[in-house]
């Protein structure tokens, strides 16, 4: 089966910052993204658990978006700028997709 090279961007950030990231993705614009709630984890400040936190501060989400190489070039700089002072992780990976017209 023929596959096509694309980029997958994954951003893990706090819930209050989430809309900043999706605004950047909307403006690029990418075709779409999916947001997952993060259940728990461990970072530089220690362990955390979604159910043990009150309010959105400190709760984390993961935003996943598949896009073209050109879109990824634009998005990465803008997302870095928006997320730079915040806690979070940005990764970009090479992925293969079956339906290139969708991304």
């Amino acid at each position: 089966m023929k596959t096509h090279a694309k980029k997958q961007m994954t951003v893990i950030c706090e819930v209050p910052v989430m809309h900043r990231i999706t605004r950047v993705l909307d403006k690029v614009p990418v075709t779409g993204y999916t947001i997952f709630p993060a259940l728990s984890g461990r970072g530089s400040e220690g362990t955390w658990d979604r159910d043990r936190i009150i309010g959105d501060a400190g709760r984390m989400v993961m935003i996943v978006s598949v896009m073209s190489v050109e879109q990824a070039d634009i998005a990465i700089d803008r997302i870095y700028e928006a997320l730079e002072p915040q806690m979070g992780i940005i990764t970009v990976a090479d992925v293969d997709v079956l339906r290139p017209e969708r991304f």
Binding site: E14, V17, R23, D51, I54, D56, G58, P85
Partner: protein, 330 residues
């Protein structure tokens, strides 16, 4: 003094506060007790809805009064003024960087709606009936403190705006449209519009189960506060803990003359003092993560959630109620 002790004893021995203490003690002892996020959120929305609706119905009966306008104005002034005082004290007594002090100060100017709900329940249980419009005062006090904190930490806020010109959009949404303000004020308006007929229609949902739901919610909040206190022991020194314990009394004292000028009833005076004494731990932390991300959440959350919230719930509320009674002769 005797009156304060009597009220404190009655408050501590009420089911909601005992459940809070249970959650708190369990958490300190290492229990993993916690409600799922979705349940806690639902309970919190229920409480906002019920308290907002009841306030609206009371307003419909009382009508628009000068006291309402004065109390709203007092709430807004207090919310803007308290962070300045808190910031000044923090700068004097601690070595916190300016940005941490500004973020912490914002929490003390804004309010804890759970403390307000518990205080409403507590003053009613001792026979004081607060004005229904105090709900609107609570909602009005959420925001000004955040704006003052941004002013206090203006250099960092300016840098943020330069980096992300749209940053203000998310912040304004967080500040003005956070779920507690929307539900509280929305239910308040619905209560005011539908009045006693509306109350008769949903009384079985929002009046009878209220105290039980509050118990369940405070059980979870006790566990959250217990974890906050465990965190506080790691990140706060004695001076900051002292600030978290005494700042509420300074806020309450600042509110007293405003409450008397507004002509509030003893219950209303107690509630305005409680609002001024309480510190936010839901709306303001989220706004601070957007506006002042360099400020350390471990400091401001530990202070408001681990120190001030449990102190207000157990000692503060009865003390404010006793002072309100004493001063107004109620």
């Amino acid at each position: 003094m005797e009156a304060i002790l009597q009220l404190a004893a009655a408050n501590i021995l009420s089911p909601p506060v005992l459940f809070f203490i249970l959650g708190f003690a369990g958490s300190i002892a290492g229990s993993q007790l916690t409600l799922p996020e979705a349940v806690a959120k639902t309970l919190s929305i229920y409480l906002m809805l019920a308290i907002g609706f009841k306030g609206g119905v009371a307003l419909a009966a009382e009508g628009l009064t000068l006291a309402l306008m004065l109390a709203l104005l007092a709430g807004i002034i207090l919310s803007a003024l308290i962070p300045l005082v808190a910031f000044f004290i923090l700068q004097r007594i601690s070595k916190l960087p300016r940005i941490d002090a500004a973020a912490a100060a914002a929490h003390y100017g804004s309010i804890s709606i759970v403390t307000f709900v518990a205080a409403t329940q507590a003053v009613r249980s001792i026979g004081l009936e607060p004005e229904g419009f105090m709900v609107a005062v609570a909602a009005a006090m959420e925001t000004p403190a955040i704006l003052v904190a941004l002013f206090l930490a203006r250099s960092a806020a300016k840098q943020r705006k330069a980096a992300d010109p749209d940053a203000g959009e998310g912040l304004l949404q967080e500040v003005f449209l956070n779920s507690s303000v929307v539900v509280l004020m929305g239910a308040f308006v619905i209560g005011a519009v539908t009045g006693t007929e509306g109350m008769a229609a949903i009384e079985g949902f929002i009046v009878v189960p209220f105290t039980g739901v509050l118990c369940l919610f405070l059980l979870d909040m006790g566990a959250v506060a217990g974890r906050g206190m465990a965190q506080a022991r790691k990140v706060l020194d004695a001076r900051l803990v002292g600030f978290g314990l005494f700042m509420p009394f300074i806020g309450a004292a600042m509110a007293l003359p405003f409450a008397l000028i507004a002509g509030l009833s003893p219950g209303g005076v107690a509630l305005l003092m409680t609002l001024a004494a309480s510190a936010s731990y839901i709306a303001v932390p989220a706004a601070m993560r957007l506006a002042l991300p360099e400020a350390r959440p471990s400091i401001y959350l530990s202070l408001s959630l681990g120190v001030t919230f449990p102190m207000n719930l157990t000692i503060g509320i009865p003390a404010y109620a006793a002072v309100a009674r004493l001063v107004t002769g109620g």
